[in-house]
């Protein structure tokens, strides 16, 4: 079996118990809710008589015990059925795929931006630890690290959308713009600049610091002295050797931050009115849509597991010590 396939299989098998725990855990948590979906449905859609209420409860399995509901849910899930969204009156399995791609795009762009700019600045800071440049970047990154993404989003809206009118305030594309092809892509791109920046900044600061700190450690490793003895110039040592070694833990961090970034997208999507997965989560909570929330938790767990798997594959490509049989 090729090593890639066996790695994938191994990881998928390892992910199953974790997913099972996520499923049982979140099911139990949401079962503990006082008031059920019918209550919140009624609260929004006006009065129903007692008979209609009972019928609705029966339809949604709310008259039975939690064990019955879990069994029903798990059985349906095994057949690929995520249940019925009470808020959207559509299958959960139909609602989530509409929303997930936008969020994945947002996260991919934000991760790419944070990783490349963050580690680039980290290299510049870490090239000469203790220098003025290093201290400036360190302090700046610490300050940026303290900025919540949703507030940064609001500030960016005030500056770039309200005052300067360079970029749109929110949404994913202009409504009824009639654009198509590249014009439409450009329009979507313009809508994504501010949300991606808001989501990415914290991670940019994090990767900058990580890169810088790791480089600081690598400068003390003996092989760097031997590189100097080979007569290799400073910046070549910085880029080809020290940065190359220091980027490895940053790549590991990319996977670890996938969950946090998915969480961050909930607020950022709300700020920019992006109809993505994160905003769906906030709506599911606000409208007490338990099946939808369960589906969201499950899907985000799968997203995080896949993201980590991708990062592990990339790491294997970057670190020769992992590549050739550990």
């Amino acid at each position: 079996m090729p090593p890639l396939v066996s790695l994938l299989l191994k990881r998928l098998l390892g992910a199953l118990p974790v997913l099972a725990i996520v499923l049982v855990g979140s099911f139990l948590l949401l079962e503990a809710a006082s008031g059920d979906a019918v209550d919140s449905y009624v609260a929004r859609s006006g009065t129903l008589d007692a008979e209609q209420l009972a019928q609705l409860r029966q339809e949604w399995g709310l008259d039975k015990g939690p064990a019955y509901r879990f069994k029903a849910y798990a059985t349906a899930l095994a057949q690929g059925d995520l249940g019925w969204s009470t808020a959207y009156q559509r299958p959960v399995g139909a609602v989530i795929p509409e929303r997930l791609p936008i969020t994945l795009l947002l996260m991919t762009l934000a991760t790419t931006l944070a990783f490349f700019i963050g580690s680039l600045l980290g290299v510049i800071a870490g090239a000469s630890p203790g220098s003025l440049r290093d201290r400036f970047l360190s302090v700046t990154s610490l300050a940026i690290y303290a900025v919540p993404g949703f507030w940064l989003g609001l500030v960016l809206i005030v500056i770039f959308a309200v005052d300067l009118r360079w970029l749109p305030v929110g949404g994913i594309e202009s409504i009824a713009s009639g654009k198509s092809g590249f014009a439409r892509l450009g329009d979507i791109g313009a809508h994504l600049i501010l949300p991606v920046t808001s989501l990415a900044m914290v991670y940019l600061a994090l990767y900058l610091r990580l890169m810088r700190d790791r480089m600081g450690e690598i400068w003390h490793e003996p092989f760097v002295q031997s590189l100097r003895a080979r007569g290799i110039g400073h910046w070549r040592i910085v880029w080809r050797h020290v940065a190359r070694n220091a980027v490895l833990p940053v790549v590991t961090m990319l996977g670890l931050q996938a969950a946090a970034m998915l969480g961050g997208s909930v607020v950022v999507e709300s700020v920019f009115a992006i109809p993505g997965f994160g905003r769906l989560a906030a709506e599911a909570v606000a409208r007490r849509d338990t099946p939808l929330l369960l589906g969201i938790i499950l899907c985000s767990a799968i997203t995080v597991i896949v993201a980590n798997l991708l990062v592990d594959l990339a790491y294997g490509k970057l670190d020769p010590r992992v590549r050739t049989g550990r």
């Binding site: 003895a229 080979r230 007569g231 970057l318």
Partner: protein, 266 residues
Amino acid sequence: MSKPYLHIAGLGVRYGAAVALEDISLEVGQGERLALIGESGSGKSTLAMAVAGLLPEGAKATGSVDFPTLGYKPRPGKDIGVLFQDPNGSLDPVMNVGDQIAEVAMIHQGIGWTAARVRAAELLGAVQIPRPLTRLNSYPHEFSGGQKQRIALAIALAGNPSLLIADEPTSALDTVVQRHIVNLLDRLVRDNGLTLIFVTHDIALASERTDKIGVLYRGRLVEFGPAADVLGAPRHPYTRALVDTHISLDTPRRKRLAEIDTAGLE
């Protein structure tokens, strides 16, 4: 008399208030092999690094280190190859060894990548790594300690230096491997007509294959001269103790060998 290759006069090195070397003066001729002997902390490595121009930041050097036959300040990597003690700490763990050797050849010989890789394969062969062409793409962790030290030697030679400084190159290796590396080093130095500075605390190793011996004690050069003279008639008590300990600990056969070897060097 012709100009010496290396001329050191009144060299002192201090780290802040701590004196590492004091008033060192010596000369080494082109193609000569000098052993620097001393216990740890005696300053022998500092002297080697001062010659290589690789003193760490914060070190203050006085006096002069000149290379009269070169006529210019030698560049590390190009004119001086350095071999360090720890083979695990000599190589970049995430770059394949072919690129690491080729990098030095490219920088110092102004050749392209392909030519540099060919040169890297030649050098790997010269340091007796089997199947050098296929091993170019291997990474440091895929080699044994002794092999890593050979690769480090190949890198040290990649810039075609005229001086090789070996700073205790075998003390991290086991005895059998030590002997292989020393033999290899010796042959390559002779074949290429290199000048060698060999830092060691092993007087037997020093006596066998070097022309001159310098003994350092607490930052001072207490003894310097042709190997046979230093070992045959040590003047400083430390050298005497060193020679005596060695002889008393070793078998008579080794003693004879050492005598024969030093005699043969003259």
